[in-house]
């Protein structure tokens, strides 16, 4: 029972962190060009 007191907040915090990361990536336009992103990794721009 006592374990829950810190395990639950940790679990929820990690979940919320994931959600926040997802919403941030959405907002910063990382899902706007899915095909392009896959190709860009192969292009050397120097």
């Amino acid at each position: 029972m006592t374990g829950l007191i810190f395990l639950l907040p940790i679990a929820l915090f990690l979940g919320a962190l994931g959600l926040a990361a997802f919403l941030w990536s959405l907002k910063s336009g990382q899902y706007e060009d899915m095909d392009g992103a896959a190709e860009r990794i192969l292009v050397d721009d120097d």
Binding site: M1, L12, G15, L19, D33, D35, G36, R40, L42, V43
Partner: protein, 756 residues
């Protein structure tokens, strides 16, 4: 990258020396001003298809003077370019053309961000987070957490579910509320009631330390349903973007000539009657006008359906949207843009659309039956348990359990999942679906009405007697023809190979007559018989090649049927569907096509309003009509028909009026779309039956009071999985059977590309 090479050659061929794509004035007009003296424009570049293209374009454009930023979006096949305003518009289009990419402006407003999608995905993220975390807590409750621990878990679940309900749920609540306010019900009404009641009852249970809470049910229900809704939206959005990326066929502006000799490029909306406009060859007529000076030929195919170019001279009346082919013209506007032919078509379209009986989607019809039955059952359960036990709390709990278990999760997924799978299959075959209900409507049709020019035919002539013409004359003629954008010249240029050996001292285009080429002391003429032969004999009717006035060869042309036209019509007839042709072209041309395709019912010389009348007549006979057309003159009919399909080469408003747009040349798209829609409808009905069967089993269990949160979670996810699996059958297996070549077909050669 090797994949870029063919596109480059193709574009160079098509370029033919003439500037391609939007002019600089047009670009300046449609660009956006950003802070800091920077302008931005988004261009549609359909030729982009790999990382190599992306790198080429970005480095090519980046080297230009004044360019601040150039970025390719591979998914939407667009290039976003920013440049400093003080330097003028850089040569973006020319640079792209040199790299081998055709570029064009697309419909205004298409670059807006898709707010709905963003909201759906955010909602999906939040609902997913809530559902996963609540499920973790629920599993521990189901596995035996008791007393204080259970209550703690329930309270935490309630806390997590609240934002999910408030944020993700409002998408459903809004739609349900809208329907209820108008006295209707839709699928979202039982969903909203189920989710809200589940949450409310669980909250009450938790406050009273009850054993059963349905927080997991409300959150995962929202999550599942949002998946269906988001997929549906993504599919339609993809089709919408693909259709919007097609070239605009309407002029955005025109060069106006002022009486004092100066000129300026004005947007179409600012052109007033009486203004004189300079119209270069290859430009479209911006507003209804009259020719003041010059001779030329006009391609009216997209406006009136006439397949042959029309010769014009001073005094001739021009309709907005027609394409000037051969010579520069000075024209005088006779109407403002809002009163032009295009606007008249828009009014006809609106009238036709208002006459279209409101089609109710299968899902809405199903829920109109479903919702009252479910709500009545829950109410009866409440009354029954009151009568039996006299315990109001027990009766309410059971009634709410009935509502939760019947919450149409499977029903809400049954339709979108199938339509998403079907739309995906059509997308892979180059067919864009604008709307899920279009597939439902298409499955009902019993009559197909085709337009001729541009729909059954490509609206481009083809050389028919290549075998009878001496090879040398043919290659000479095509070497001359390369210098013109007249459709007949294009056909000649396409017909021959080995034109490289001919060189000319001068080639001149004489608008309305043909081409004249000089080579040493010889004068070659290619064009109308009497002009080419200096008025001597005019027995020949076709196009003549003459050398110093003596005939060398005669060429005959015919409008080319679209690939697969005959097969498509035969397939439609096999299925017992009636086929009709309604065309604005000459009777003779229509009769030729009709007999070649074996269509008995064909009408020629039909006006746009005549097409709508014919469709209304068919509707009055109780027929469900599919209209296939491309022109401006078809747009009202496309809006009036039960369902409509347009090719990618169609006029802008035709494309936006149609429910489906096919991007490839072949008409086999039509039987394919029909077959896919019918199959999708069959699967939708199967899914609805599955959903009803699920309820037939689950409702009695709920009525008897045996439903616990665990049972509800298993039953609901089980039924959703079955429905999704059944829906996805459409996407697999059968796709390989389609009679299409597997390789992606090249971009459809739009009329624009060939004419300019």
């Amino acid at each position: 990258m090797s994949c870029c090479a063919p596109a480059a050659e193709e574009a160079l061929l098509l370029t033919g020396g003439a500037p391609k794509g939007p002019s600089r004035e047009e670009m300046a007009l449609s660009s956006r001003v950003l802070p800091g003296g920077v302008r931005q424009i988004d261009l549609s570049v359909p030729g982009i298809h790999c990382g190599g293209c992306m790198a080429n374009i970005e480095s090519g454009l980046g080297k230009l003077d004044g360019i601040e930023y150039a970025r390719v979006n591979l998914s939407t096949k667009r290039v976003s370019v920013r440049w400093r305003d003080d330097a003028g518009v850089p040569a973006i289009v020319d640079t792209l053309a040199k790299l081998g990419y055709e570029s064009h402006l697309f419909e205004q407003g298409a670059d807006e961000k898709d707010e709905t999608l963003a909201e759906l995905i955010r909602g999906l993220g939040i609902a997913g987070f809530a559902a996963a975390n609540i499920m973790l807590l629920s599993v521990s409750v189901w596995s035996g957490a008791e007393d204080a621990t259970r209550d703690l878990f329930h309270w935490i679940s309630a806390l997590i579910a609240l934002p999910a309900l408030a944020y993700s749920g409002r998408i459903f609540f809004r739609s349900a509320w809208g329907a209820l306010r108008n006295g209707r019900t839709n699928m979202d009404v039982p969903i909203s009631i189920g989710v809200l009641l589940a949450y409310g009852m669980s909250l009450y249970e938790t406050a009273n330390s009850g054993p059963h809470a349905y927080f997991d049910a409300s959150a995962s229900l929202l999550f599942f349903l949002l998946i269906g809704r988001t997929l549906d939206h993504v599919m339609r959005e993809r089709a919408r973007v693909a259709v919007k990326g097609l070239a605009r066929l309407a002029a955005r502006g025109a060069t106006v000539l002022y009486p004092d000799g100066s000129n300026a490029y004005l947007p179409v909306g600012d052109i007033k009657p009486g203004m004189q406009i300079m119209l270069a060859a290859g430009e479209r007529v911006p507003v209804d006008a009259r020719v003041v000076k010059g001779r030329s030929e006009l391609d009216c195919a997209i406006v009136s359906g006439e397949s042959d170019p029309v010769a014009v001279e001073p005094g001739a009346v021009l309709r907005a949207g027609t394409l000037n082919l051969t010579g520069p013209l000075t024209i005088e506007a006779t109407a403002v843009a809002e009163d032009s032919f295009l606007a008249e078509m828009l009014r006809l379209m609106e009238a036709a659309e208002s006459g279209r009986s409101g089609y109710r989607r299968i899902a809405d019809r199903a829920s109109a039956l479903y919702a009252p039955v479910v709500h009545l059952t829950a109410f009866l359960a409440f009354l029954g348990w009151i009568a039996i036990s006299g315990d109001a709390y027990l009766a309410i709990t059971i009634a709410i359990a009935v509502l939760i278990i019947t919450c149409p999760c499977a029903l809400g997924l049954a339709v979108p999942i199938v339509q998403v799978a079907a739309a995906r299959r059509l997308f892979e075959n180059g067919i864009m679906v604008k709307d899920g209900s279009a597939m439902e409507r298409l499955a009902e049709i019993d009559t197909v009405v085709f337009d001729k020019t541009g729909t059954l035919t490509l609206g481009m002539p083809r050389l028919t007697n290549a075998r009878d013409v001496p090879a040398a004359a043919l290659s000479l003629a095509s070497a001359i023809a390369v210098h013109s954008r007249h459709p007949i010249s294009r056909a000649l240029a396409d017909a021959a190979v080995g034109t490289g050996k001919w060189t000319f001292d001068a080639v001149e285009e004489v608008p309305g007559f043909g081409l004249e080429a000089r080579r040493g002391n010889d004068v070659y003429r290619l064009g109308r018989a009497e002009w080419a032969l200096h008025g001597k004999s005019n027995t020949a009717s076709g196009t003549i090649l003459s050398k110093n006035g003596a005939p060398q060869a005669e060429f005959r042309f015919e409008d080319q049927l679209r690939a697969g036209a005959a097969a498509a019509i035969a397939q439609l007839k096999d299925k017992g569907i009636e086929v009709e042709i309604l065309s604005g072209d000459r009777a003779e041309a229509v009769a030729n096509v009709a007999s070649a395709l074996g269509v008995d019912k064909a009408k020629a010389g039909v006006l746009p309003s005549g097409k709508v009348e014919r469709l209304e007549q068919l509707k009055a006979e109780g027929r469900k009509v599919l209209m296939v057309g491309d022109g401006l003159n078809d747009a009202p009919a496309l809006a009036a028909a039960h369902v409509s399909i347009a090719p990618a080469s169609a006029a802008d408003i035709g494309r936006s009026a149609a429910d489906f747009v096919f991007l490839r040349e072949s008409l086999s798209a039509i039987p394919l779309t029909l077959a896919t829609s019918k199959e999708a409808n069959r699967l939708i009905r199967q899914n609805l039956v599955l959903a009803v069967m699920y309820n037939a089993i689950a409702v009695p269990i709920a009525l008897l009071g045996y439903v616990t949160p665990l049972v509800a979670a298993l039953a609901m996810s089980g039924s959703s999985v079955i429905v999704i699996a059944n829906g996805l059958r459409l996407g697999t297996g059968r796709a390989a059977r389609s009679d299409k070549p597997a390789e992606p077909s090249p971009a459809f050669p739009s009329k624009e590309a060939i004419a300019s």
